[in-house]
């Protein structure tokens, strides 16, 4: 067991032998190039001038009034391309370029990571293939068009449930097919080591900024909430607060039609330890290890696994994970839009929906609650417009 590849019992490198040299190459490049002063300076400059960082920490006054607690939004939706995904996609693509790679590939569910990778590839002059399930390609048609406009080739996967799981499996296969020349830009804190660690480090800028911004406003966070599919925005914001046990961390999963039905993507709520997409983590699976179908209105959370660091944080009980349903998510999206004039992504709306569960239980005065608004909802307008309670999405 390569212990450095694990977060507690979870992580590892469960990948074909053919691809192991690429992981060794990546680990080395991340250590030498990725930690260099020059790389960090170049990336920070891009994050500031191109992505638009730092993103604001916004006090959501009307929503605070509604819930009776102080709610703050970390506005990752204000990043260029509309989500936190660009932080990581840009960093990995820059690393790929410095490693001498000519092409990057990526998988995408909601399309935000695909758009981010296609954007970074366009900026840095690299070829780009994006794998996307057919169902997601349909429900995120606009993002597919954006990727193509940015010069990427979108490979639509028609196998299985035709969502993120199948796109990820196909992307790994595509990566192995061209293992000597392409760089796989993984979109979340998932996959074999060193990806979960590297992506976490590229996304921790969210929490580091939020912590500084809270300090500037002289506010002490009581709760930090983020949605969890693979879990990159959540790890991104949680990391800065992990050492401070007085801050309660909440990860919100996609409950789909309900966690008591088979139609959800609530991995940590309903899954158990297993291996998927190169990592040991918690997985939705049957007794034989067959990966189960997942269902969520959110294409970005529609995934049967979760990043291994989340599995570890769940295991040691540092973060509490709960699920909200499609219906609760849509209600929260509408409420936030009406009260704050901000249309959050369906993914982020899961984190917002958790306020409904949390706030009524909070005693002993007003609490400061930070919600990570991981992306904006423009891409989801069709899904919201056509939403019908009880419909199986994905």
């Amino acid at each position: 067991m390569n212990t450095k590849a694990y977060f507690g019992k979870f992580g590892g490198q469960f990948i074909p032998e053919t691809a192991m040299f690429a992981l060794e190459e990546l680990e080395e490049a991340y250590k030498i190039i990725g930690q260099s002063k020059q790389f960090k300076e170049e990336l920070n400059e891009l994050l500031k001038e191109y992505v638009g960082r730092p993103t604001p920490l916004y006090h959501a006054k009307r929503l605070s009034e509604y819930y009776g607690h102080e709610i703050y939004f970390k506005r990752e939706d204000l990043n260029h391309t509309g989500a936190h995904k660009l932080n990581n996609a840009l960093a990995q693509t820059l690393l790929a370029k410095k490693m001498g790679k000519k092409k990057v590939i990526a998988e995408t569910g909601a399309g935000q990571h695909g758009v981010a990778t296609a954007t970074a590839a366009a900026l840095l002059g690299l070829e780009c293939d994006v794998y996307m399930g057919e169902v997601d390609a349909k429900r995120q048609e606009l993002n597919l068009f954006r990727m193509e406009l940015l010069g990427a080739k979108v490979v639509v996967i028609k196998e299985g449930l035709r969502t993120l799981k199948e796109a990820t499996t196909a992307a790994i296969q595509g990566w192995v097919n061209e293992i000597e020349s392409v760089f796989y830009v993984i979109g979340s804190v998932v996959g074999p080591y060193p990806y979960p660690l590297m992506v976490r480090n590229f996304q921790r800028v969210i929490g580091d900024e939020a912590k500084k911004q809270l300090a500037t406003k002289n506010i002490k966070a009581d709760y930090v909430i983020a949605c969890v599919g693979g879990g990159s925005n959540a790890i991104g914001i949680f990391t800065a607060f992990l050492d401070d046990e007085s801050v309660e961390l909440r990860g919100v999963e996609a409950g789909g039609l309900g966690v008591d039905t088979p139609y959800n993507a609530a991995t940590l709520t309903k899954g158990r330890a297993g291996i998927i997409h190169g990592m040991k983590t918690i997985v939705l699976q049957d007794k034989y290890g067959k990966i189960l179908p997942v269902h969520s209105i959110s294409a970005g959370l529609d995934y049967p696994g979760v990043g291994p660091e989340h599995a570890h944080l769940f295991d040691i009980k540092r973060v509490k994970y709960e699920a909200v349903s499609d219906d609760e998510c849509i209600k929260a999206l509408k409420l936030t839009t009406k009260l704050e004039g901000i249309i959050p992504a369906i993914e982020s709306s899961h984190a917002l929906a958790y306020l409904d569960k949390l706030c009524p239980k909070l005693k002993n005065g007003k609490k400061n609650i930070v919600v990570n608004i991981s992306g904006r909802g423009d891409k989801d307008m069709d899904s919201v417009r056509n939403y019908k309670k009880g419909t199986i999405y994905g």
């Binding site: 590892g12 990948i15 074909p16 192991m20 296969q173 192995v176 000597e180 291996i275 034989y288 990966i291």
Partner: protein
């Protein structure tokens, strides 16, 4: 002799790969019953899996069809427990299926139904220690996969290897384009210098011509995708005849 090495004794081994339960459980039972009459010296049986990251479209689709038909790990064990053929059989199985079954339980039941080794495509050396120890204790083989992209790791990989060496003939998934022959020959030559284990080449071997070329430099040729395709089209004596022609 019914162990893995017997397949390579005095000759170049014909190694086949099938997906258990494809196109049906009955087909698989029939194929295994006929094994002693076939030209196949060693059979790899794939346990169908929902997310096989090393499989090309043909094998992936066959696996999904078998799963749709209700095939699971227990079904595969039940098929094998009834077999009468003496030819060596190994499992090609993704690690999550073993993990879900429990490593010890999986190994014990495999042993009981005469399985002689395991090929685990998503379990590289770094994750293989526990499986290696259990295999060793139970006198079963852990067959290493070695690719031209991982040749520099061969020495390390061979410390936990037995049965034979599975040299990966294509960079990519099963059924893909074969690696340039010079590079492949070079790798197989190096592996033979490093180990006494027979070296068989799989991935990218589809035709009789491919098999004959492989025989010139390796100890065995492994055919997966083409054999799975044949299993989908033929059965009984007709299938045996097709397999014979393929390996002839």
């Amino acid at each position: 002799m019914d162990n893995i090495q017997s397949a390579f004794k005095n000759k170049n081994a014909n190694i086949g790969y099938i997906v258990a339960g494809y196109p049906s459980v009955e087909h698989t039972i029939e194929f295994i019953d006929n094994l002693d009459k076939s030209v196949i010296d060693l059979l790899e049986i794939g346990i169908p899996y929902s997310d096989p990251i090393a499989d090309g479209k043909v094998i992936l689709d066959a696996g999904l069809e078998a799963i749709e038909n209700g095939v699971n790990t227990d079904t595969v064990f039940e098929i094998l427990e009834k077999r009468t053929s003496k030819k060596p059989i190994v499992f090609l199985v993704y690690y999550n299926l073993i993990y879900a079954y429990g490593l010890s339980n999986f190994i014990q039941r495999s042993k009981k139904c005469g399985i002689q080794g395991f090929i685990i495509p998503d379990m590289p050396y770094e994750e293989s220690e526990e499986m290696f120890k259990l295999c060793k204790k139970n006198d079963l083989s852990l067959i290493p996969l070695i690719s031209v992209t991982s040749e520099h790791r061969a020495k390390k990989l061979l410390t936990r290897s037995s049965g034979f060496i599975y040299a990966i003939g294509a960079i990519g998934v099963t059924g893909g384009e074969q690696t340039p022959l010079n590079r492949l020959k070079h790798m197989v030559g190096d592996l033979k210098k490093m180990s006494d284990l027979p070296v068989a080449v799989g991935f990218g071997i589809r035709t009789n011509e491919d098999i004959n070329i492989t025989r010139e430099y390796a100890d065995g040729a492994i055919v997966g995708t083409s054999l799975v395709e044949l299993c989908g089209k033929f059965r009984g004596e007709y299938l045996l005849e097709e397999v014979k022609e393929l390996f002839n």
